[in-house]
């Protein structure tokens, strides 16, 4: 077993165990933290494939941003885990069946289809000056430019949709108007009154 394989199996087992813990631990905050661990190990597995861009972006986007907000929400909400667990035994057979089917399908894909180990050997190690980022950029902005731009449209749409649904017209909250603040001049606020000193008697 080479060093790389050792690292891979270690990371893979951490990822699988952490993923298992995500759905079994009782505390939702801990579940979210285990999910972060899962993302992290998967990112490192990508590094083993010399896909450094994907690895880092996974950490940057999912670990650094998405999960922070997720954790934020989980902490704010008082989630009653017992209530969530109520139908667990009832749905277990269905869930287990689906899981087994998906697993079987994955096995079929990776052992018989065009993706089995013989037709898809490990890629040759890339040259020293190979840049995963550069390659991805080239592909995204040339070959896949149409779906890439469409995906951008989709994100914009999601943003518009979220704002349209959540921004209520009511603006009773007091808010700052920086433009008005900046435009204020001394003359607007201050009145200088000149008067002679009066004699005190």
């Amino acid at each position: 077993m080479t060093f790389e394989q050792l690292v891979f199996y270690f990371l893979a087992s951490v990822a699988v165990i952490a993923a298992g813990l995500v759905i079994t631990v009782r505390n939702p905050v801990r579940a979210a933290l285990f999910l972060i661990l899962t993302f992290f190990t998967v990112a490192v597995i990508w590094l083993l494939l010399e896909a450094e861009f994907l690895a880092i972006v996974l950490v940057l986007v999912y670990v650094g941003a998405v999960m922070v907000l997720f954790l934020f929400v989980v902490m704010m909400l008082d989630i009653d885990t017992d209530q969530l667990r109520e139908g667990f035994a009832e749905y277990l057979p269905i869930g287990a069946t689906v899981a087994v089917i998906i697993l079987l399908q994955l096995v079929i894909v990776f052992s018989f289809g065009p993706f089995d180990l013989e037709q898809m050997p490990a890629p040759a190690a890339a040259a020293v000056d190979y840049s995963n980022t550069h390659q991805l950029g080239l592909l995204l902005y040339t070959y896949y430019v149409y779906p890439f731009e469409l995906a951008a449209v989709l994100l914009l749409l999601a943003m518009v949709a979220a704002i349209a649904l959540s921004l209520r017209g009511r603006l009773s909250a007091k808010r700052q108007r920086p433009d008005a603040q900046v435009r204020v001049r001394k003359e607007d606020r201050l009145r200088i009154v000149k008067m002679n000193a009066e004699k005190q008697d």
Binding site: Q105, I108, V109, F112, G113, P114, F115, T142, Y143, Y144, V145, Y146, P147, L150, A151, V153, L154, L156, L157, A158, V160, A161, I163, A164, L165, R168
Partner: protein
């Protein structure tokens, strides 16, 4: 990498629609107080100009691919886009007064509509799993939001939630199916998949599994039995103006979607999907028509009628030959215009605070407003497929397609359920003409809308002399699919 400018030229309508959506999004911030009508008018202008752009970018013969084979422009794409843009144009005319009266008139409403239109346009000219999926998501995301737009209504919120959850599930299934197909063929490009399938055995486990997932995904999106549970709730709960939209244009897009996936991609598996679609179609015709009978809410009844109509629409596709496809396309176009008129009538009857969605609201309409009563009767005739209307020809053409491929028993079943379905459509006519009116407020509707709606309804009958022209256009579109 071919010349990008040539590619962009082919996608001008899509780019134009999206750019205008952005312009409206920004402009609305400025105009929504001073010129509230600006967003609406600009949207309508966009749709008309888009229609014009689609018409002038017709490819010369056969189909042209662009953007590294991810975009395809052919007869079907052009025709579907034209129909979609025109339908949306009419939809917005009908919904204008509805949304202004219910405080739903916001710039985002039109931005979402335009994005949905963009999604449909992308879907109709997609030749790659990536683009077809993104197009579908563009459409779905806009529709989820539009359904939830009336945020003070519990029913609408519930409908949006159901729609979203089931829609996401359907997308997941579809994606899962696509990934299986990718696993089996090693490609996401529809043409490559097609040729890869020809080199494989047709009972390949991977392929069949992928196909099943994709069919389930399509079934959910289309709302056919047994994946129809969401349709009635959404038709009932969502604002009528939104139902008007999601019940018309997306059905045409769904046709293109099915054609791209099943016919373009899985031609080699036609036997398999034809069987699956047969079961779905029979179940839909049965469930839709029978359950529609017991509904008291008109929108809900029309929802079940949609389910049954989608069953009929599948009949043409499952016959798996070009005649069947053009019959289906014809059917879906006719159905879209008919349901446009039907929901248009509901909108016309309703006003702020009164939705006019119970069947009992229409009792004795003839005494209150004979003209509307007549329009209702015509629409119901067309829905039921009774001869002087175009709905009859639509049903006839799909059944004809079945007989061509010698599926006699299916044709018999389809006719049987059409007869059952006629019952509840005729019941509406009976309610309108022979029941005593329960309400007697005057019906107020803008003249412009009345005019367009009347034209819409009469088109369902008066189009008859030109039916051959439409049939030709439809079959040309299908034969030009490459």
């Amino acid at each position: 990498m071919s010349n990008i400018f040539a590619d962009i030229q082919l996608a001008t309508p899509e780019i134009f629609v999206f750019s205008m959506a952005c312009v409206i999004l920004l402009l609305d911030k400025v105009t929504h107080e001073r010129m509230p009508k600006a967003s609406f008018l600009l949207t309508q202008l966009t749709l008309l100009v888009g229609l014009y752009l689609v018409t002038i970018t017709v490819p010369e013969g056969g189909s042209i691919k662009a953007f590294n084979d991810m975009f395809v422009l052919d007869g079907m794409a052009v025709l579907s886009k034209q129909v979609i843009l025109f339908l949306t144009f009419v939809v917005l005319i009908y919904s204008y007064s509805y949304i202004t009266e219910r405080k739903m008139y916001r710039g985002e409403y039109f931005v979402l509509i335009l994005n949905a239109v963009l999604g449909m346009m992308v879907m109709t000219s997609a030749s790659h799993f990536l683009t077809i999926y993104i197009g579908l998501e563009l459409l779905s995301l806009s529709l989820y939001t539009l359904v939830a737009m009336n945020r003070d209504s519990d029913l609408a919120t519930e409908a949006a939630m159901k729609y979203f959850v089931l829609g996401a599930l359907a997308s997941g299934l579809l994606l899962y199916g696509m990934s299986m197909i990718y696993g089996a063929t090693g490609s996401l490009d529809i043409e490559t998949i097609r040729s890869a399938i020809q080199g494989m055995e047709s009972d390949d486990t991977m392929l069949i599994l992928g196909l099943v997932f994709i069919i389930v995904g399509i079934g959910f999106k289309l709302g056919v039995v047994p994946f129809h549970m969401w349709i009635p709730d959404i038709y009932q709960g969502a604002p009528t103006s939104v139902v008007l939209f999601l019940g018309t244009a997306p059905k045409v897009a769904a046709f293109a979607f099915i054609m791209r996936l099943l016919v373009d991609g899985f031609q080699g598996l036609a036997e398999n999907w034809s069987d699956m679609l047969t079961i779905i179609a029979v179940l839909s015709m049965a469930t839709g028509n029978i359950l529609a009978i017991i509904q008291t809410n008109l929108k809900r009844m029309l929802a079940y009628s949609t389910i049954s109509h989608m069953g009929y629409f599948l009949l043409g596709i499952l016959s798996a030959n070009p005649n069947g496809y053009s019959a289906s396309l014809f059917y879906v176009i006719v159905y879209s215009f008919t349901s446009l008129a039907a929901f248009g009538l509901i909108i016309m009857m309703s006003r702020a605070g009164f939705e006019a969605e119970e069947i009992s609201d229409y009792k004795g309409l003839n005494k209150r407003h004979p003209w509307f009563a007549f329009l209702v009767a015509l629409v119901m005739f067309s829905m039921a497929g009774i001869p002087p209307t175009v709905g009859f020809f639509a049903k006839l053409s799909v059944i004809q397609a079945l007989i061509d491929v010698e599926m006699y028993w299916l044709a018999v079943v389809a006719i049987l359920f059409a007869v059952i379905g006629a019952y509840y459509y005729l019941r509406i006519i009976k309610t309108v003409y022979f029941d005593k009116p329960e309400r007697n407020e005057p019906i107020t509707a803008r003249f412009g809308m009345q005019f367009v709606l009347s034209a819409n309804v009469f088109a369902l009958v008066l189009i008859m002399p030109w039916i051959g022209v439409i049939m030709d256009a439809v079959s040309n579109a299908i034969s030009a699919m490459g």
